[in-house]
């Protein structure tokens, strides 16, 4: 396993595309997190001039424990940037013929798949660590509550976030391996994420059936949090059924990828 990790690290280490995309990802995350407060202040100033009653600058988005729910939800929108890198990585291996060379040199097909899953886990874990750091920093800057119980209450959103991003990246890996072509894979991933599944699920009335679709299931892990500031009910916990569905999808995608690698001539 150490060997597989080292192989994948050697592959990304000097790859400028990797560094550009991951830096971009963290820069955007950072700017979104730290501009949240400024945005609310901006709304407040607008609201003042309009004579509004509620003061948006007072919305405690970064207060413990809500901060965990809020930032994991928002960060979820940016996982597509990492998915782009995952697609580039797998389609490169196919187009450069390095997947074939890797196998010829002595990786098994499972080893190869494992090396790509290592990449997925690596990206998911650094993203999650970044979110944890951002949560603590934002919380300690802006939060009124610093009770230890408050700080850790919603931290269950962290493993949920890890599961969410891992599942999405595995989905991207699957598409890349299936389609082989870089641009086409990205196009299909976005087409499916933004258009195909939303249209299908839009027509379905029953919530639990909607939740069976892969991306809906992945997104369901962390529900929309901000309604609570309008005093509406939100799901502020991780549901076991969502977790189960996503885990099953992970297993399905990994099995399908293994099957593709087994059957396909490289």
């Amino acid at each position: 396993m150490k060997r597989i990790i080292r192989i994948e690290l050697l592959k990304v280490q000097s790859y400028s595309t990797f560094w550009i995309l991951t830096s971009l990802y963290f820069l955007i995350l950072l700017s979104i997190f730290f501009s949240g407060k400024f945005f609310l202040d901006f709304l407040a100033r607008k609201g003042e001039s309009l004579g509004d009653i509620i003061d948006p600058s007072g919305i405690p988005i970064y207060d413990f424990p809500d901060v965990w729910h809020n930032i994991t939800y928002v960060a979820g929108f940016l996982k597509f940037i990492l998915a782009i890198y995952v697609i580039i990585s797998i389609t490169n291996e196919i187009n450069y013929g390095t997947i074939r060379q890797n196998i010829m040199n002595g990786l098994s097909r499972w080893d190869f798949l494992l090396s790509k899953l290592v990449l997925v886990c690596f990206l998911s874990i650094i993203s999650t660590l970044f979110i944890i750091a951002a949560g603590f920093i934002l919380g300690f800057i802006y939060s009124g509550n610093r009770e230890i119980t408050d700080i850790i209450t919603y931290m269950e959103f962290i493993p949920a976030y890890l599961l969410q991003i891992t599942a999405y990246l595995i989905f991207a890996l699957f598409i890349g391996l299936l389609i082989k072509r870089t641009g086409l894979s990205m196009g299909l991933l976005f087409l499916y994420t933004l258009i195909v599944e939303p249209i299908i699920t839009f027509r379905i009335k029953t919530d639990w059936i909607k939740g069976l679709f892969p991306l809906k299931a992945i997104n369901n892990l962390i529900r929309f949090p901000f309604k609570k500031y309008a005093l509406r009910e939100v799901q502020d916990y991780i549901a076991w059924d969502d977790t189960l569905i996503v885990s099953v999808y992970i297993i399905i995608f990994i099995s399908l990828m293994y099957l593709i690698l087994k059957k396909r001539d490289l």
């Binding site: 060997r3 080292r6 192989i7 050697l10 592959k11 280490q13 000097s14 790859y15 400028s16 595309t17 490169n92 450069y96 013929g97 390095t98 074939r100 060379q101 890797n102 196998i103 010829m104 040199n105 002595g106 990786l107 098994s108 080893d111 059957k263 001539d265 490289l266």
Partner: protein, 298 residues
């Protein structure tokens, strides 16, 4: 001798195309085995199958008389078709990945790069290499694990004459160390120069397999010339140990019978009182044999 590789009745179909048809082959330890055939005859497909990257439609094969696929491949140095490396990594970084895959340390990297004449450019990115340099890196990668067996698919493709000569030297060196080399090539000359054994493929079928020496020795072709060509021709016409002869400008080309040597011819001519001014043995090239074989198979 021990077989390092046995192929049993392998077939590969691509839709209606049969790329390899019911092929069986054994490769003995220490041989340099040439797989010869025109473009599209199934060489790459055959190598792809024995390297586990192409699934055969039918048939089996085994390396080293065992079935531990992945471990066997780690002991084999191989290239298939065009060199495949990470373009954004340097030569050395690419070889490090291969060393990790093959579970060996990085100590050998500089040495193999020197062997193929790529040492000076080792820290340049692969994408800056010329085709010849890419091919050299591919050979270097095959040498990396000090392999028991090397499988090379057209390794001199795209190289300049000097590069071709260098790579052939590398192959001969390897074979001197008692290693086995399996070499696919459409160049007869190449097979003749470096191989000990060879097989000929055409349309995916194995149509000949044997030793290179035997083929070269089968029949000798001799060029003879004399002041008096007519006398010479008369004498040769009567010579019973020839298969055929042919006039060529100021020479006569004699194909001797199997296992007859030029000495026999010379002795005969001397006895017939003919003074020979030119007597040269043409090594019967594999090319002729190859063309014969192809013709026969059609």
């Amino acid at each position: 001798m021990e077989h390092v590789l046995s192929i049993n009745n392998i077939t590969k179909n691509y839709g209606r195309i049969t790329a390899v048809s019911n092929m069986s082959l054994d490769v003995s330890e220490g041989s340099v085995f040439g797989i010869l055939g025109p473009n599209g005859s199934g060489k790459t497909t055959t190598l792809g199958i024995i390297l586990d990257v192409i699934n055969p439609t039918d048939g089996t094969f085994n390396w080293f008389r065992n079935f531990t696929r992945k471990e066997n491949r780690q002991k084999i140095g191989s290239t298939l078709e065009t060199p495949a490396f990470y373009p954004y990594l340097t030569g050395v970084q690419n070889l490090k990945i291969i060393a990790d895959i093959k579970r060996i340390n990085y100590d050998n990297i500089d040495k193999v790069l020197k062997d193929v004449g790529l040492y000076e450019r080792k820290d340049y990115k692969y994408k800056t290499y010329s085709l010849g340099m890419k091919q050299r890196l591919a050979v270097a990668s095959a040498l990396l694990c000090d392999p028991k067996v090397m499988v090379l698919d057209e390794p001199t493709n795209g190289l300049d004459p000097q590069g071709i000569a260098e790579i052939r030297e590398v192959i001969k060196d390897i074979s001197k160390k008692g290693k086995t080399v399996i070499l696919a090539s459409h160049l007869l000359d190449e097979v003749q120069k470096v191989c000990t054994d060879f097989a000929v493929l055409n349309f995916g079928r194995l149509i000949y397999s044997g030793k290179v020496d035997e083929v070269s020795q089968e029949q000798q072709i001799v060029e003879v010339s004399s002041q008096n060509l007519t006398e010479l021709e008369k004498a040769i016409n009567k010579f019973s140990l020839k298969k055929s002869y042919d006039n060529e400008k100021d020479k006569i080309i004699v194909t001797l019978d199997r296992n007859m040597s030029v000495t026999d011819l010379n002795k005969y001519l001397v006895e017939s009182g003919i003074i020979v001014t030119h007597l040269v043995v043409r090594k019967r090239s594999l090319e002729q044999k190859f063309l014969d074989i192809l013709n026969e198979s059609e």
